[in-house]
Amino acid sequence: MKEIVVISGKGGTGKTSLTASFAMLAGKDIVVADCDVDAADMHLLLEPDFEETEDFYSGEEAYIVQESCIQCGKCEEVCRFNAIDIVKGRFVVNAFNCEGCGYCARICPTKAIVNKEVKVGECFTSNIKTGTYMVHARLGVGADNSGKLVAKVKNEAKELAKVFNKDYVLVDGSPGVGCPVVSSLSGASFVILVTEPTVSGLHDLKRVYQLVKKFNIKTGCIINKADLNIEKTTEVESFLKSEAIVHLANLPYDEDFTKAMVSGKTIVEYNHGLLSELISNSWNKTLEILK
């Protein structure tokens, strides 16, 4: 079983639209994992049935039992996260700031502070319209530990792939280079970078590729909206060449990306022309490489 991860560095380059199209093309051969847990959108295109829902707990949060508190203020002194507020003369925990380090509970002389496990989100296993499974999640508002939720989604997807003998796990990653991205890259067999020919597209591509390199994973790249700026596209192409990244396709600037999304369809369902053909070629190339 192999794992294909789609990321982009920069947001809004077309990552999710393309991943959903790949899912459509791959049909039953894959399990889909939406690891962009901060802003999960793939369910808008793949019609999941939310068959199983599981609460996801990760980390802890301090809670002060007022009856036992003697107002000594030691918790506030040791907290490095500004998470102890004084409200009407009482010490209370600011849940948004609390990192769950547990330091305050350890030093409280009257054991008035308890650590509670925090529900940071929900993880779903669904049947989707392509006849296979998708694992996806919803991160609670302002929740920490999105990296761990990403790991959870990926592991569930891999587990399903094993049980049902699927060849691939297809992962939609999140933007950036921080913990959720690091988490989605670990264990990947192939990375597809989706970029656009803009100053920021190229800048972010270079940064995220520095991260991919650390994992030593074979990488391909799709340049979306390639005709928006031919010069920049050439610049992206020479970067790909210099780093031996497989150039999978140049896609045109095409409003079918949006139109397909509005109609709740993947691009390959909506568009029957060149755009879909190019996407289909990219997927076949990817499978060829992974053989």
Partner: protein
């Protein structure tokens, strides 16, 4: 006044709005733009100034002093993040897992885990005509954006007092980096696009802002593609719609080469004027 520009979905135009709004405001008031999207900072591609200051940014992590250690095991017990582990006669510290809570260091009975600096990124300050610009950049391989964002906010708050308008270009999403980046703002502008993805992620961002108790408004970018869901939602929810910027290939092309838009695209300027007016009215109300 401090204004954070945020969005749930990535690539909706946060940086476009942040850079253009800042440059425009700087023509008439003291303005500083701060790029808090430390994982992928892009504002600097559009704002070109001369470097006036730079510094490395560190987080504090424990460092094991073998000679002092009695292997009592308290450090391992006190770390909720598994960043300190005792393996036989060795204490191993994993800096990338450390949240800098100081528990292991301060609870160690023999001071065998002093806190030391670990570089996580760097901060640069530029001056571009009337505009000040601060950018922080996370080192590749560092996973935690929050400590760098927090240090950057500290730096900005020391440098610039309340006479300044501060614009924060925030990271995408709704998790910890966004919470940190908007924590200091008086007002948050959520940039979205009128598409199903944009709408879905906007609702998440609105939830986040409501739970944080932030006052916020919406700017619709790429108006004209997609559908009316976002606009209808804002009306229904009573969320102020500050401005709409039309979808245009010409705008996308200018953006692609790293150019500011408002001096060349009249409707972008029009949107900025509306936003400035809204912010001024808000500032006056806050002052009351």
């Amino acid at each position: 006044m401090k204004v954070a520009i945020a969005s749930g979905k990535g690539g909706t135009g946060k940086t476009t709005l942040s850079t253009n709004l800042s440059a425009y405001l700087a023509e008439s008031e003291k303005t500083v733009l701060v790029d808090l999207d430390v994982e992928e900072p892009n504002s600097g591609l559009f704002i070109h100034g001369h470097l006036v200051h730079q510094e490395e940014v560190y987080k504090m992590v424990p460092e094991w002093v073998e000679d002092k250690c009695t292997f009592c095991g308290l450090c391992q017990q006190s770390c909720n993040f598994h960043a300190v582990i005792q393996l036989g006669p060795v204490i191993m510290v994993f800096p990338e897992l450390c949240h800098s809570c100081y528990a292991c260091s301060e609870l160690c009975p023999v001071e065998a885990l002093p806190m030391v600096q670990k570089k996580i990124g760097h901060l640069q300050q530029f001056r571009s005509e009337g505009l000040h610009f601060v950018e922080s950049r996370l080192d590749i391989g560092e996973e935690q954006a929050v400590p760098l964002i927090a240090s950057t906010l500290d730096f900005v708050n020391k440098q610039f007092d309340c006479d300044w308008t501060i614009i924060y270009d925030s990271p995408p999403g709704t998790s910890c980096p966004v919470i940190e980046a908007t924590s200091d703002a008086d007002f948050v502008i959520l940039v979205t696009e009128p598409t199903p993805f944009g709408f879905h992620d906007l609702k998440l961002a609105v939830d986040t802002m409501r739970q944080l108790g932030k006052s916020f408004g919406v700017v619709i970018n790429r108006h004209g593609i997609g559908n009316d869901e976002v606009e209808d939602y804002c009306h229904e929810e009573g969320i102020p719609l500050l401005a709409k910027i039309a979808n245009s290939r010409a705008i996308a092309e200018r953006y692609s080469v790293g150019k500011l838009l408002y001096k060349e695209v009249p409707e972008v300027l029009e949107a900025l004027i509306k936003i400035k007016h809204f912010l001024n009215t808000m500032a006056k109300e806050v002052a009351k």
